[in-house]
Symmetry: C2
Subunit: 345 residues, 2 copies
């Protein structure tokens, strides 16, 4: 949270008319403070660092024709010189695929060898194309490239969790402007994933339902496709955070088939375009929240993957670092209404 | 984590000579990836947005003489017109002190009324003075103002946790440049605090020791004072993160006495000055990690408060948002060595 005192023009019509609320989402299992006294109107949120179309680059190693400047290629789609997508090793990987972990180390150790995979998915051959410019079929192709790489990596016994994510824009963590995403495979199950399992299990035990299978409240829904629904989560930690969830029950993202990948590509494109229009082309991250590779049969009932989109509109401060709680100045139902009504050309 | 490809001049002497490691700190109970392949030399870390001395301001409501432009005052130190420190309500509080929470709501609810306190500590009467400019006695006075306000707030039964924090610089979340910190009192125990209790309990059960009472490895220590030690934590999530821990066992920050407050003020000043010199006056946050207000007698044995300083050198990306894990490009022992050797005038 920032600002003990906001801009003099803070507030607006809705400020002060509603009391703050503290909400907990069963999926994230985390409290979020909704604080309208600190809010601008939902329509006042705009990025201060809009991401404009990439200029041509003569030195980008991700551009077609410069493949030799990259770390080794894992595969390309299609497998011809005139590729559309390339999956490559990260030139400066956070983890090292050649290290080994002994089983005992995981249980007792405070230090593990930094084993893991860290790959890059180059989403388009041309520097000026962003993911949201692409056809749903081509976005579906990127999603299927993720699933193919996950299927390969999960053959390694020491890999426990695979995180797919995209950083778009420098302030969202991207140092390369050529459209790309990353796949990072870890030898441990990360804390947000464990917490999610606890939360969805608790909900399942209480209700008999997977909480992400349940119908979304109408006021939180943005758009739907054949197989997916996009909505603002009930306890969104970030302003204008969006989730895209499969309507059918599915624990693992990598079970996605071609038909559904294109359907998801269409809805993802729509969400990115609406967000860009409403928020002035903000930097953003998206993360695919899937289940750990090894889950018990019983856990399959309440684990359900989803894609989370977070525009970077404000940084975090000492409160968030200290507590792990977030303060969101805008209510999810207000954001959903705004995003439902964005009209695209 | 950012950057699949770093600057061409990334790396340096130490890059590539050491394998990545994954470390877990018993206090935070969280895995952190240490990734030297992505590292610069420890001495290469510099802030890109240095915080220079405040210019005079004619419109800052925190300046002496403009008290009427602020939200109501809670107390001032000393209680005279020529004050040194003021504790005031936040003009745009995240939480509302006038709401009520019923006991039952905490156990079953997914929505709580946004009850809580959100106060501001104005650390100096004059706009140009930053905390690190002040005498140890005056910094001690600020710390004692925190404790006095905590003692007042904890009288309210519904308050479960009180977070004291400071945001310094716009990119660390501060919208006001006049030196100040914030106190936020919550009706729930936040997730990082629960996780810390779990981690320190596990360590205590295994070893019989409070893990923050144990002697710090020499290579991680930066400086010591009579009652405190400053060091880089074994599994620091952020580059150049620093912890200051009381050498004596203490669960609650608000038990600090005057003598120890001045001693802590001296060490805090030294750390802020060293960080400013080494990292080019970075924006930063500090957070006081204390124990929940209600802890069982048995929990007092392994709960130990500390102050965490985090310079803002890089933002978070999709990996951190997705997993809750962090990637730190510099090993704690290398940072501690650099900070030990910083010489101040």
């Amino acid at each position: 949270m920032s600002s003990p005192n906001r801009d003099p023009d803070h507030g607006g019509d809705s400020a002060g008319t509603r009391s703050p609320e503290i909400r907990k989402d069963p999926v994230t299992n985390r409290w979020v403070v909704f604080s309208p006294a600190r809010a601008k109107r939902p329509t006042d949120f705009k990025s201060k660092s809009p991401q404009n179309p990439n200029p041509k680059s003569s030195s980008c190693p991700f551009c077609i024709g410069r493949e030799d400047d990259c770390a080794p290629e894992i595969f390309r789609v299609p497998d011809v010189p005139d590729w559309k997508i390339r999956v490559i090793e990260n030139l400066y990987p956070a983890l090292n695929r050649d290290l080994e972990i002994q089983t005992g180390q995981l249980k007792t150790g405070r230090v593990l060898p930094g084993f893991g995979f860290h790959d890059v998915v180059v989403e388009a051959p041309v520097h000026s194309i962003q993911l949201s410019d692409m056809d749903p079929e081509d976005i579906g192709g990127v999603l299927l490239a993720y699933t193919k790489r996950i299927e390969q990596i999960k053959q390694h016994d020491s890999v426990k969790y695979i995180q797919v994510f995209k950083n778009h824009g420098a302030s969202a963590g991207a140092s390369m402007s050529h459209s790309h995403s990353q796949i990072l495979a870890l030898p441990v199950v990360p804390p947000t994933v464990s917490s999610r399992l606890d939360g969805t299990k608790e909900y399942f035990d209480q209700t008999g339902w997977c909480c992400l299978c349940e119908a979304k409240p109408k006021e939180l829904v943005i758009n739907e496709s054949c197989h997916f629904v996009s909505f603002v989560p009930f306890a969104a930690a970030f302003p204008f955070e969006i989730w895209i969830v499969p309507k059918y029950h599915s624990s693992h993202f990598h079970d996605l088939d071609t038909n559904k990948a294109v359907d998801l590509g269409r809805l993802l494109k729509l969400m990115l375009q609406k967000m860009a229009k409403q928020l002035n082309k903000p930097p953003f991250n998206y993360m695919i929240h899937t289940s750990p590779l090894e889950v018990a049969e019983s856990q399959l009932l309440y684990t359900h993957w989803f894609l989370q989109i977070v525009p970077q509109l404000s940084g975090v401060g000492g409160f968030e670092i200290g507590t792990g709680c977030y303060i969101n100045p805008v209510f999810p139902e207000d954001v959903a209404k705004v995003l439902r009504e964005v009209s695209l050309p």
